[in-house]
Each structure stands twice: as structure tokens, then as C-alpha cells.
């Protein structure tokens, strides 16, 4: 069976007049369909670069990326991308923001309206479709952004620290919501985060990254008991603390040996 997503020896350089920086170096991993993988690492380790490459927004300088066995630039699969902030367009109503994807792809937006309302309901937003983003709270906006991503029925979701700008309580609730929705629809997802707890709570596997240039350090499998729980419940599980300590130790070790750079 072909893996759903495969990265083979992916390297990326950022070039400028003064020289270049190697953002990520020789990264290889694969993700199965329906799997939730977290990429964990310090700031500046190239986590977001990996997502941008998978999304096809930037082209890696070396190596190959395959989606369902095809190079990403030939893949027609819909990709959902969530960023640190919601980036809802302030001059569009929530409904028009949500219908942006179908509009870009020249689909009949009217036929998506019902699905949009249902999804809004599902993420707990009611009667907001005609409001502008400025009248919503941060958590509500990020949920609306989630709907904007889901309406395109993406086969893979790329989550670039989408919870990092929220207050702690909102963040936990949203993690729960996103986790449940992704599980229900059996979506493949890659989450980039620097929050160990978030990575454990949400994912099936955790890829730990080194800094400077970003490379894969270690892969942790989240125990089955934790995978079956919702993110909020995982945090209360005895196994959670064990894995947390294990990852913490690993990060600590790398910091001491200087493999993880100081930010």
C-alpha cells in the first residue's frame, strides 16, 4: 500500500542576497490516511516550512514530497491550512469567508451555504453568518476559520499552531473540538506546535525536531489508551504524564548537548 503522504530527504534553503539559511535538512517521514501527526520543536526549527512545502506554497529545494503516491504539484487533493491566527478577511462576512474556497475553485457557492451553516452549528457558532469577523471573539474566529477550511472537504489538514494565540481555556476547548471533528471525518492531519501537552493530547505520533538546520530527532508513538481519548481527557490520564516527561527529558538532553539552539 502506498503511504498517504511521504516526504523523502526533503531539504529547504531560504536564499537572500547575503547568503542562505538551511531551514530543514534531509527530512523523511510518512503519514497514513486518517493519522494525526504532530511536529514538535523549538521556534525556528523549520516546522512551518515543512507545512508550507506540503501545502505547495513553497517549493522545497531538494527531495520529494508525494501525496497518495503522486508528486504534490500534480496532486489535485484539497489541502486545508490553518494558521496561528484566523486570517478571516475582515471585509467579508463570516459566510463569505467560509465560501472563499468554493469561490476560488469556481464552484457554485449557493450549494455550499447549507453545508456551511451545518458546519457552523457543529463548531458551536450560531447566527454569526452575516456578521463581520471583528464582532467575534478570538476563539469564535478560529472556529469560523476551521469551518472555512473544512468546507472544501480537505483530505489533509495542516495546522500551524492554530491554538497558540488563544487563552488557555479556549485553547483546550478548541483542541477538543478539532480533535473530535477530525476523528469523526477520518481526516489526516499534521499539527505543528511547541506545546508538548498539545502534541500528546491530539496526536497518534509525535515527530520531535532538532534546530539549526531543522531535522528529525526522534519519533514518539502515543500509546493506544491516549489516542482513543479526547484531548481534554488525555491530559488527565496517568500515561500522559509519563510520555510528557519522556519528551521533556529528550528535549532537555538536546538542549544540553547544544543540538537545540537557544531562541
Amino acid at each position: 500500500m502506498v503511504n498517504f503522504l511521504t516526504l523523502e530527504h526533503v531539504t529547504h534553503h531560504y536564499f537572500s542576497k547575503e547568503g542562505y539559511t538551511k531551514a530543514i535538512d534531509n527530512i523523511s517521514f510518512s503519514v497514513d490516511e486518517g493519522e494525526f501527526v504532530s511536529i514538535l520543536g523549538p521556534s525556528g526549527c523549520g516546522k512551518s516550512t515543512i507545512l508550507s512545502i506540503i501545502a505547495g506554497i513553497i517549493k522545497n529545494t531538494q527531495g520529494n514530497v508525494y501525496l497518495e503516491g503522486k508528486p504534490i504539484k500534480d496532486s489535485k487533493l484539497a489541502i486545508g491550512y490553518m494558521l496561528q491566527q484566523d486570517y478571516l478577511f475582515p471585509w467579508k462576512t463570516i459566510m463569505n469567508n467560509i465560501l472563499l474556497g468554493p469561490k476560488i475553485n469556481r464552484k457554485n457557492t449557493d450549494s455550499y451555504k447549507k453545508a456551511a451553516l451545518e458546519l457552523l452549528q457543529e463548531v458551536g457558532l450560531q447566527n454569526v453568518e452575516n456578521q463581520y469577523p471583528s464582532s467575534l471573539s478570538g476563539g469564535m474566529r478560529q472556529r469560523a476559520a476551521l469551518v472555512r477550511t473544512l468546507i472544501n472537504d480537505p483530505k489533509i489538514l495542516l495546522l500551524d499552531e492554530p491554538f497558540s494565540a488563544l487563552d488557555y481555556q479556549t485553547k483546550l476547548k478548541l483542541e477538543d473540538l478539532v480533535g473530535t471533528i477530525l476523528k469523526t471525518y477520518n481526516k489526516t492531519a499534521i499539527l505543528v506546535t511547541h506545546d508538548i501537552g498539545e502534541a500528546i493530547a491530539m496526536s497518534d505520533r509525535i515527530l520531535l525536531m532538532n534546530k539549526g538546520p531543522g531535522s528529525l530527532a526522534k519519533i514518539f508513538s502515543v500509546p493506544k489508551e491516549l489516542r482513543e481519548e479526547t484531548p481534554l481527557e488525555v491530559r488527565k490520564h496517568p500515561q500522559y504524564q509519563i510520555l510528557f516527561d519522556e519528551i521533556w527529558e529528550e528535549l532537555d538532553k538536546r538542549e544540553e548537548t547544544g543540538k537545540v539552539g537557544v531562541i
Binding site: 489541502i79 491550512y81 494558521l83 486570517y87 471585509w91 472563499l100 476560488i104 472544501n152
Partner: protein, 266 residues
């Protein structure tokens, strides 16, 4: 103890009073200005032949409007200014859009734009008259020229300052460059475009009046130069008053358009 309601009323009253004080001052200043001017002219503190007086200007304006000799000049200048303003603004936005669409083109054009922007545009006046002939076209072109370059540069730099994450969102949906422009770049820079409208109102007036100084046979700029040549400073001052009124009105209209656009494109 005052109730919430009373406190609010009090706040409201204070606000109103402050506004009234401002208005009284504003009106007093203009009345004082005209009174002092009138007095200075009648008492020969200044030469009335050179500085005229408000009463003479008022009389002259009345006579000219009654005789119908003001309206043609006024409408010609207004027409030229509005056209110059529209072409300059829309042209600037179009050029900026072209520069944004073709990155290489914008890099090539960069030094030329810098030079054109630094250059005092009215200095090109004689060349424009040679190129477009001594008529409306030249004058409108002057109005266009002073506003188009600065509009281009302002709008283009605003295009480049749009948060790239909006483009990231669109690209993840597979948007083309044109779709990115339509959905993010253009609406995000609309406020900047509107603020250039306000600047361009003033600039177009500069271009058109200078154009009329140089070439025309009618218009307010022509009246100023004509009054100057025949030593009729009352005519010069009357034209200035009309220009000030028209420019202020045009500015107010643009402000209204701005308010409307902001309300409907938010």
C-alpha cells in the same frame, strides 16, 4: 449620588458645550479676518488697489454672477479638475496594479518612477502644451500628471504591505495571482486608495490652475493671471475665493464618498 443616566447626560452636555465653543471660535476668526481686512483697506493701512477688500470682492462676485461672466470660467475649471482628478487616480491605481502583476516590470520601472516622482511635475508644463496643444487636453493632462505618479507609488507600496498570510490562505485553496488580487490585495488596500483620493483633490487643483496660468483663454486660473496683468486684484481675489470654495466642496464630496465606501466595503 447621581444615577448612571445623569452621569451620561452630563457627559453628553459637556461634549456639546465643547463643540459649541469650537464653533464659536472658528466663526469668530473668519469674521475677525474679514473685518480687519475691510478696515485695513478702507483706512489705507494697506493699499486697497493691491489688496482689495471683502466688500469689493463680494460686490464684484455678485456683478459677475449676475452678468453670467463667472459661471463659464468656473465650470471649465471644475470640469478640468474633476477629469484630471479621476484620470490621475484611476490611472495611478491601474499602473500600480500592472506593477504588482509583473514583478520584473516593476523592478525595471523603479528608477524611472523615482525620478518622475522627485521631479516637480508643473515644470513639464511647457512640454505638455507642445505635445497636447494649447487647450483643455493640456490642462487636464497637467491635473493628471501631478497626481498619477504619487498615486501609483502609494498604492503600489500598499499592495506590497498586505499581510502575506491572507495570500497564504488563498493559495492553500489554489488561488491564482489574479484571484489573490481580487480577494485580498484590492480590498485590503481600499482604505489607502481612498486616502489618496483626498490628497489627489488638492493635487489636481494645483495642476489645473498652473495649466491655466500657462495656456488657457478661460477658467479660474486664467482669471487670476488676467486680473494680475490688468492690475484688477479684486478679480484675482474673487477667483481665489471661488477656488477655495470649490476645492473645499470637492474635498467634502470625496469625504462623503470615503465614508460611504468604508461603510459598504468593510
Amino acid at each position: 449620588m447621581k444615577t448612571d443616566r445623569q452621569l451620561f447626560e452630563q457627559y453628553h452636555q459637556n461634549l456639546k458645550r465643547e463643540k459649541r465653543i469650537i464653533h464659536v471660535w472658528q466663526i469668530s476668526i473668519i469674521i475677525a479676518f474679514f473685518l480687519i481686512w475691510e478696515a485695513a483697506s478702507r483706512l489705507y493701512w494697506v493699499d486697497p488697489l493691491l489688496f482689495s477688500s471683502p466688500s469689493r470682492i463680494f460686490q464684484s462676485l455678485l456683478d459677475r454672477f449676475a452678468a453670467g461672466t463667472m459661471v463659464p470660467h468656473l465650470s471649465v475649471t471644475l470640469f478640468e479638475t474633476i477629469l484630471g482628478f479621476l484620470i490621475g487616480t484611476i490611472g495611478g491605481v491601474i499602473v500600480a496594479t500592472l506593477l504588482w502583476s509583473f514583478t520584473r516590470f516593476s523592478k525595471i520601472m523603479d528608477p524611472y518612477l523615482v525620478v518622475l516622482n522627485a521631479m516637480p511635475k508643473v515644470a513639464l508644463g511647457p512640454m505638455i502644451i507642445v505635445a497636447f496643444g494649447p487647450g483643455y487636453t493640456s490642462i487636464i493632462m497637467m491635473g493628471v500628471l501631478v497626481s498619477v505618479i504619487i498615486t501609483t507609488l502609494t498604492v503600489y507600496s500598499a499592495y506590497n504591505e498586505v499581510d502575506p498570510n491572507y495570500l497564504k490562505v488563498l493559495k492553500s485553496f489554489g488561488a491564482t495571482r489574479w484571484q489573490c488580487f481580487k480577494e485580498a490585495i484590492f480590498p485590503a488596500t481600499l482604505p489607502t486608495m481612498i486616502s489618496t483620493l483626498k490628497v489627489n483633490v488638492g493635487l489636481s487643483w494645483v495642476g489645473v490652475i498652473v495649466g491655466e496660468y500657462l495656456v488657457s483663454k478661460e477658467g479660474l486660473g486664467y482669471l487670476i493671471i488676467y486680473g494680475f496683468q490688468v492690475f484688477d486684484f479684486t478679480l484675482v481675489m474673487s477667483s481665489l475665493v471661488i477656488i477655495a470654495l470649490l476645492a473645499a466642496m470637492m474635498y467634502k464630496v470625496v469625504e462623503k464618498i470615503e465614508a460611504w465606501l468604508i461603510k459598504h466595503t468593510k
